[in-house]
Homo-oligomer: 337 residues x 2
């Protein structure tokens, strides 16, 4: 082998660290000006691997990733069922990440885009902080975020309006004569938890009902944790006549808890969930739920990503899908067959 | 840039096509001797990118893929919940493929291992044919198969024994005095569908019962298709007093259909499923199910893969997890609280 330029000589010439040269040649995220200095130093030294590194950076993998909090939540499944065929028709295979809503893991996924194992990413983070947004904007491949990001963030974004969704359900309970409406939420440090908390407080006030903190309980967005939170709520506010649940898994847990406690749904306690997952329609009783247009959000996200892969330069787009209420037996009783 | 060797001059020297050189330098699957000729020609010509290509081929991605038929089936979710922490503890991130049991797609995933987007693969195929096995044996990264592969296949393999599982359920029905035991299966061209069909026929015979084809219906391993198959079965054999379902999603569909048909479970019709998914325990009534050790199979598969990643040369291992029956209300009635 010839005694040609090495990453050490390139590093000297470019005035950057050896690690930086290695990062650039491996297509890892690196500051723009470092990339430029390394590539021009390598060119000047006649370092041929540049072309390989460049082809590495530009090669298509024909894969797209979808990163969600928990593949156990059917709302993400609904999205996958929409995203996958849209991508497949365009020649892309879908790979999935279940991040457990862990911010560090999500940022790690965003950074890995520099390694080009996929051509683009659809992500639905539950917590969106500074570090997240920086990693999104620095991502080395196109990203679409499903969820609410701060206005002005440079990213394609599909959102819904869960605050309006919560109010639709509260108005429905109120129209049925319910006045002691409990609320079981997920963690308040998540974007949906925070939005739904505000929406419940506002909605209760707008209906002219007193805000009673005994009627509010925090659990998590899973069935088991939701059921435990409903149990706590029920022992603290045994006179409640309705429960608004921040997602359908919590609501399914509520149905279990109420059944085992001998409360009839909806006669004694009406129950509504959120997300309108497939299980809502087949639950017993079938579950009234606020649809946040999961299927449509998934499809729109896939379409935005494909559009971006075809046109990297256009301005970011924000698309909003409005919520609507699916009324079923858990609030209005079983229809007679 | 210097006028150094190019993939064209390497191709001439090695006596192979330009495409082959490109494949080798990009780490794509290529015949062993082609790889050797290309790399030695490139060395002789002083082509530096070799080192980049080599580091590309040997680089760790710290990702492992799990390819399953359908992320909507909770049995795979159970596996993911076991696989993910085992891999994470060893520094690997999990990426998921939902293949819809499509053989072409699964083979495509196996072939893509040459592109090194992951360091290894755990796959649970429903249909295992010649093409599959060839792709498994030719895979460019370690593979573990969950499911029954032909004896002698050179692959690490975790299996269960669903035939014994079906018989456990049939014996349970028989011990409860049930004699008209229906069977709702998934497609017969799948490995589990075929095994469970044989097991039902044998099990019925061993119990001294007549095999009645009116008691057998084929649907698919999903809840909606399962429910439709149970409806057909019920109208053809209205006198059945038990239904064995080839998985829990079908059994959950059976509970819906029987409820809407006014049949009491288990008084009129006892129901059992298979896989023992989380929903089985919280269904109403709770569902008797044959556990095929999904959690354990997932964990063992992850451990086998890690072991293989640490020691590429050992002989393939086959591990078998025995089934057991989880008896719940859908066969023996609700316990009094």
């Amino acid at each position: 082998m010839s005694d040609g330029p090495t990453i050490t000589t390139i590093a000297e010439r470019a005035g950057v660290s050896i690690a930086s040269v290695s990062r650039v040649l491996n297509g890892l995220p690196t500051r723009e000006d470092t990339v430029r200095r390394v590539l021009s130093a390598a060119d000047e030294l006649g370092y041929v691997p540049n072309s390989v590194a460049r082809s590495l950076k530009s090669r298509r993998t024909n894969q797209v990733a979808f990163a969600m909090a928990d593949i156990g939540n059917p709302v993400y499944l609904t999205m996958v069922r929409e995203i996958q065929p849209v991508l497949k028709a365009a020649g892309y295979r879908l790979v999935l990440h279940s991040t457990d809503a862990d911010v560090a893991e999500e940022i790690d996924v965003l950074r890995s885009l520099g390694e080009r194992y996929v051509d683009g990413l659809i992500m639905i983070p539950l917590r969106i902080g500074e570090a997240h947004l920086k990693a999104v904007e620095a991502a080395r491949a196109p990203v679409v975020i499903i969820g609410s990001v701060p206005d002005g963030t440079r990213v394609d974004n599909v959102r819904t309006d869960s605050r309006t969704g919560v109010r639709l359900a509260l108005e429905h309970f109120h129209s049925l004569g319910r006045r002691r409406i409990g609320f079981v939420n997920g963690p308040l440090d998540t974007v949906p938890g925070s939005a739904r908390s505000t929406a419940y407080a506002e909605g209760i006030r707008e209906l002219g009902l007193p805000y009673d903190e005994n009627l509010v309980e925090i659990g998590d967005f899973y069935r088991a944790e939701g059921a435990q939170a409903v149990s706590r709520l029920l022992s603290r506010a045994p006179d409640l006549d309705a429960v608004m649940c921040a997602n359908d898994l919590i609501a399914l847990g509520a149905l279990d808890v109420l059944r085992r406690a001998g409360r009839r749904v909806p006669e004694d306690v009406a129950v509504a969930g959120m997300d309108d997952i497939d299980l809502a329609a087949v639950a017993w009783p079938s579950l009234t739920s606020v649809s946040l247009g999961s299927a449509e959000r998934g499809r729109l996200a896939a379409e935005l990503l494909l559009d971006r892969l075809g046109n990297g330069d256009r301005d970011p787009k924000v698309v909003t899908v409005p919520p609507h209420l699916m009324i079923r037996a858990s609030t209005v009783g079983e229809e007679t067959p």
